[in-house]
């Protein structure tokens, strides 16, 4: 009689976590930070069409790193969920915390029950009309959620980039400084990132209903220069 192969739950979880972490570490990182007039979303992304940064709702933005098809599917589900909620109730009832919890459920479900975990790390950002109330929700591949009001790094080399960001970031930066701090942290000391390597957007606190704005080309060059 064949003995069934026994693997301890600790080992299963560890293998899955290693698998997911490896997949995520292959990709380039992204930084989210709050600044004086909103939230800055800044990703290292040489592609101009496969987006990592996108709009979910009026004051909610999204960033994903890792496997593109997996985080893009989650992004679209987020847009659908937010639009459905706004249609059923009202636009002001749509919030990032609810969305982050939903993402956490899905990621946790995949991590424990599916063949393979999702190789993604997500960030859900919410700009608040009040200064100082902006929220950044950071989601890991296993469904862990963390929230902060200052800055977050997701993706490969997050620790090194996070350490650089801790040194240079401070509350209440202007957009130009915030972009330079984020890009400087992403690049490190031995290389320089140009606008073509970057995907930058803001959730701007400027009174418009839809706050998501991409900053591209010459506008981005001007901020970096």
């Amino acid at each position: 009689m064949n003995m069934p192969l026994y693997v301890s739950p600790e080992q299963v979880m560890k293998d899955r976590a290693d698998y997911a972490r490896k997949g995520i570490a292959r990709g380039r990182a992204a930084v989210a930070s709050t600044y004086a007039d909103g939230v800055l979303l800044c990703a290292e992304n040489p592609s101009n069409t496969l987006r990592k940064v996108s709009e979910i709702y009026d004051r909610i933005g999204f960033m994903g790193v890792g496997k593109y098809n997996e985080f893009d599917q989650l992004r679209i589900a987020g847009v659908r969920h937010a639009d459905l909620k706004g249609y059923s109730f009202s636009r002001e009832d749509v919030d990032a915390r609810w969305l982050a919890n939903q993402y956490a459920q899905i990621l946790g479900q995949y991590f424990t029950h599916e063949m393979k975990p999702l190789e993604v790390e997500l960030l859900v950002a919410e700009m608040s009309p009040e200064v100082g109330d902006d929220r950044l929700f950071h989601l890991l591949y296993d469904g862990t959620v963390m929230d902060t009001t200052s800055h977050v790094v997701i993706g490969g080399e997050a620790e090194a980039i996070g350490a650089r960001l801790d040194e240079s970031w401070s509350a209440g930066l202007q957009l130009r400084e915030a972009v330079q701090v984020a890009v400087g942290a992403l690049a490190g000391s031995d290389r320089e990132l140009v606008p073509d390597d970057l995907e930058v957007a803001v959730l701007a606190r400027d009174g418009e209903r839809r706050s998501f704005r991409r900053i591209e080309g010459d506008d981005l060059g001007g901020l970096l220069g």
């Binding site: 659908r80 969920h81 639009d83 249609y87 059923s88 899905i106």
Partner: protein, 263 residues
Amino acid sequence: MTFPLFTPDQDPGPSFLGLLERLGMAPPEFTGTLEADGITHGTTVLAIRTVDGVVMAGDRRAISGNFISHHSMEKVFPADRHSGIAIAGAAGPAMEMVRLFQLNLEHYEKVEGSPLSLEGKANQLSQMVRSNLSSALQGLGVVPLFAGWDERLEQGRLFQYDITGGRYEERRYATGGSGSLHSSTVIKLRHTPDLDFSTAVDIAVEALFEAADEDSATGGPDPVRGIYPVIATIGRDGFERMANEDVVARTTALLERLGDRSD
């Protein structure tokens, strides 16, 4: 509310209406009969094409039979940053159509990462009007006007619909609702190919004034309540609603120009 994740063969794509249908949340089709007098109707709207883009305008009256049910209804709305929609017909279904149309355009833009072409938006609206046909046959018809700035052709464009969803692009102007006959006569007499926004707005104010003069369902300027038509311009910079003070000033100027009609 479940989280809307789909397998590839079940995916509703970038359409919000498709998503509602897939989730069984689409508004139920109307069946049965209704007393036409009990339904609130929005009345006169118009759109004029100019070299700067399109001017859209609508009066503020809503009626149920021979009662005035609202004095300050709005019938001209932004559809997205670069287009607008004006509605005449049964007010309830019309407002819902506007809301769904706005959502559908925004939903597409967010899911796909780029907006629909103007032609695509006009076709979407056509399908929405078409799907309202069974309600229209019960007296709940909605006939919108749609206008926008076509970024590819660098010009304003204007579309008119019938209750079956028929879509007609107009080169000069279009009107809808009960006061459409009178308002279109005014525009027809004054429209020139080189119209700019400012002149077209004056024509729109006058057209609505004359429609209100002849048609009981169209509301005229109401200085007692401070209610004036809603006017919007849609040009290269997108949809912009005119400030009420500007409309008041133009209405006052029109009344002075028309002079005394007492004899």
